[in-house]
């Protein structure tokens, strides 16, 4: 039964939500507003929160003078390809873990997530050593490879949970109805797995898009991604806050759009009504 809350409770809820929203949105506002300020305003002794004369000079600079377009393309390639690879491979692994019987299945299913607990920073040096030892060129493929490896455990763990929720009889019914394995996957499983893939995709894309340390170590002049590019404005002569924040603002937009579209695939209770009980 749904409880009807007293007005005091409702206002309490709103108040706490507003406080949380302020905590979350303040840094974003600082970033966005700073990106529209010139150096004089930024370094004003008294921080200016709202009323300043906006300028486009930071955007103008990063979009025309820097290599923003190249970094952007790099980031898009790295993030989308590694997200796609992660979802594809992770989906296969998760399916195998959820459905097939083989030695060590339980161990693998229960321990994949542990791998995810290792922070990327710890992996930076070994990763760098690997790349050097194997004499791999500093290019996007290496980064894609590492991001995929980094994201797979979480994706597998997440999709595993989703696959386990789908009753086996659904697949059996499709098989009896004459579906080939691919048809079973694309016409029966995938539509029910959309939520799972969307969630896994959002996480994977966001991490691949934002990751900094590995990208810094493993990319060269032409293969830099946006976060590494942004860091380039930390120079010997000082930190160019306006430009960093302008870049940051632009960096935020693609994952925001991606999340927005992916989240529309998330529907709960997709298997409701399919089996008895």
């Amino acid at each position: 039964m749904r409880r009807i809350d007293s007005p005091a409770r409702v206002w309490g809820h709103y108040a706490s939500l507003i406080i949380l929203a302020i905590i979350c949105l303040t840094p974003i506002w600082v970033m966005v507003s700073t990106s529209f300020k010139n150096e004089v305003v930024i370094f004003d002794a008294k921080p200016v929160w709202f009323f300043f004369f906006p300028t486009m000079e930071n955007y103008d600079y990063i979009l025309t003078r820097g290599k923003f377009d190249r970094y952007f393309v790099n980031s898009v390639i790295v993030a989308t390809v590694s997200t796609f690879l992660t979802l594809f491979l992770g989906g296969l692994c998760a399916y195998a873990l959820a459905r097939l019987e083989f030695k060590g299945r339980r161990f693998v299913a229960n321990s994949t997530l542990l791998v995810r607990m290792v922070p990327p920073a710890v992996l930076a040096v070994p990763a760098f050593a690997m790349v050097v030892t194997l004499n791999l060129n500093a290019d996007l493929v290496v980064l894609i490879f590492f991001y995929t490896a980094l994201n797979l455990p979480f994706a597998i763990w997440l999709l595993f949970g989703f696959y386990k929720q789908i009753p086996v009889e659904l697949e059996e019914a499709a098989i009896v109805d004459g579906a080939s394995p691919l048809q079973v996957f694309f016409q029966v499983l995938f539509p029910m797995m959309k939520s799972g893939y969307a969630v896994a995709g959002i996480f994977t894309f966001r991490i691949a898009w934002n990751e900094f340390i590995l990208a810094l170590l493993l990319t060269g002049r032409n293969s830099r991604t946006l976060p590494v590019g942004a860091a380039g404005f930390i120079t010997d002569t000082g930190v160019e806050w306006g430009r960093i924040m302008a870049m940051g603002t632009l960096i935020v937009i693609p994952p925001l759009l991606f999340t927005f579209f992916a989240a529309r695939q998330i529907i709960s209770g997709l298997t409701a009504g399919s089996v008895k009980g």
Partner: protein, 363 residues
């Protein structure tokens, strides 16, 4: 050999043997009903026929082809799952037409077949609903519809009517029987429901612990149960089984126990003569009791101490005891009769059954 044939089929999960050895021959076009208590391996048997479960050993052939190792797709079967297994993201029409769409049946024909099945199953108003917006009984009918739109060689039904109310179930039973007559397809049907089994089956297969107890027409399994299990399982209310012994009195053979002594009918005398006299189980079907002596010589008196009489229209179910043992009788007394009381009742001895207690086999 056409039809569906299971030969020496064994099914085990690891060390647990579910089906020790199963031989079953289902003729082409036959309607076979498998009944048995929960957990006896009915679903497992169907799933092996469908190819969803691999046999541990043995052979299965369908339509004369050995399909023991064939994929479900290659077996030309349609199946209704005990758990429905509806596609939750497709509406009712989508669920029913899925197999046809995969088989690339022309659109117009798909629409027509779905329409026809929906009418038969009273699902027409729900064709564009998703399974989650249907009641349990409606879902079950969708599961049914999904198989009957198809044109398979063999239809497998795993308790397809279990969730329907009594009236709808009766309608569906009739519809299925009509459908079977029309399609003349082989159908294997699993149920708990006596009446479904008796009314629809060409032959009934009674299973217990993975072993077939008897195969026969409804009439055969009802009138000539081969063992105690079948005797107790078929018939509703179920047969009264009472310990007894055979005695001879003035040259005539009697079956005697606590509180009763009934003459052994002619058809059983020869076998009763050679049986172990002291170790007998007497079987009396409730419906063969009567309140009055019908006077054809076959009716013998028996004293019943009535505990309660249940009114069910023109008959009454009587819970009674004989010699301290519980017994059920169903007597036809007309709708206006007063509740039945203790006294002398009559049993049609032509219809009594004798079993060897040790082996459980019928005499």
């Amino acid at each position: 050999m056409s039809g569906v044939v299971l030969r020496d089929v064994v099914k085990a999960y690891g060390d647990v043997v579910i089906i020790p050895k199963l031989d079953l021959e289902i003729y082409e076009g036959e309607f076979v009903v498998i009944v048995g208590p929960s957990g006896c391996g009915k679903s497992t048997t169907l799933r092996m026929i469908a190819g969803l479960e691999m046999v541990t050993s043995g052979e299965i052939s369908i339509a004369g082809k050995d399909v023991t190792y064939a994929q479900p797709k290659a077996r030309d079967i349609a199946m209704v799952f005990q758990s429905y297994a509806l596609y939750p993201h497709m509406d009712v029409a989508g669920n029913m037409s899925f197999a046809l769409r995969l088989a690339r049946v022309p659109k117009a024909e798909i629409a027509e077949r779905v329409q026809r099945a929906a009418e038969m199953l009273e699902l027409t108003p729900y064709l564009d609903r998703k399974p989650k917006d249907l009641s349990g009984g409606q879902r079950q009918r969708v599961a049914m519809g999904r198989s009957i739109v198809r044109d398979a060689y063999c239809f497998l039904f795993d308790e397809p009517l279990s969730n329907l109310d009594a009236k709808l179930r009766a309608t569906m039973r009739t519809e299925l029987a009509i459908l079977h007559k029309k399609l003349e397809r082989t159908m294997v049907y699993v149920t708990h429901d006596q009446i479904e089994a008796m009314t629809m089956a060409d032959r009934i297969v009674i299973m217990k612990d993975g072993v077939i107890q008897q195969i026969g027409s409804p009439r055969e399994v009802y009138t000539a149960p081969e063992n105690l299990f079948v005797a107790g399982f078929i018939g509703s209310p179920s047969m009264n089984l009472m310990d007894a012994e055979l005695t001879r009195n003035n040259g005539a053979l009697y079956v005697k126990g606590q509180g009763f002594e009934l003459p052994v009918p002619g058809r059983l005398q020869e076998r009763a003569d050679t049986a172990k006299k002291s170790n007998i189980v007497l079987g009396l079907r409730p419906e063969h009791f009567s309140a009055a002596d019908r006077g054809n010589g076959a009716f013998a008196p028996i004293e019943l101490a009535v505990d309660v009489a249940e009114y069910i229209g023109s008959s009454q179910f009587i819970a009674a005891s004989v010699g301290g043992k519980n017994l059920t009788a169903a007597v036809e007394v007309g709708p206006d009769a007063a509740p039945m009381e203790s006294g002398t009742y009559y049993f049609d001895t032509e219809r009594l059954y004798l079993f060897d207690r040790e082996s459980g086999q019928a005499l």
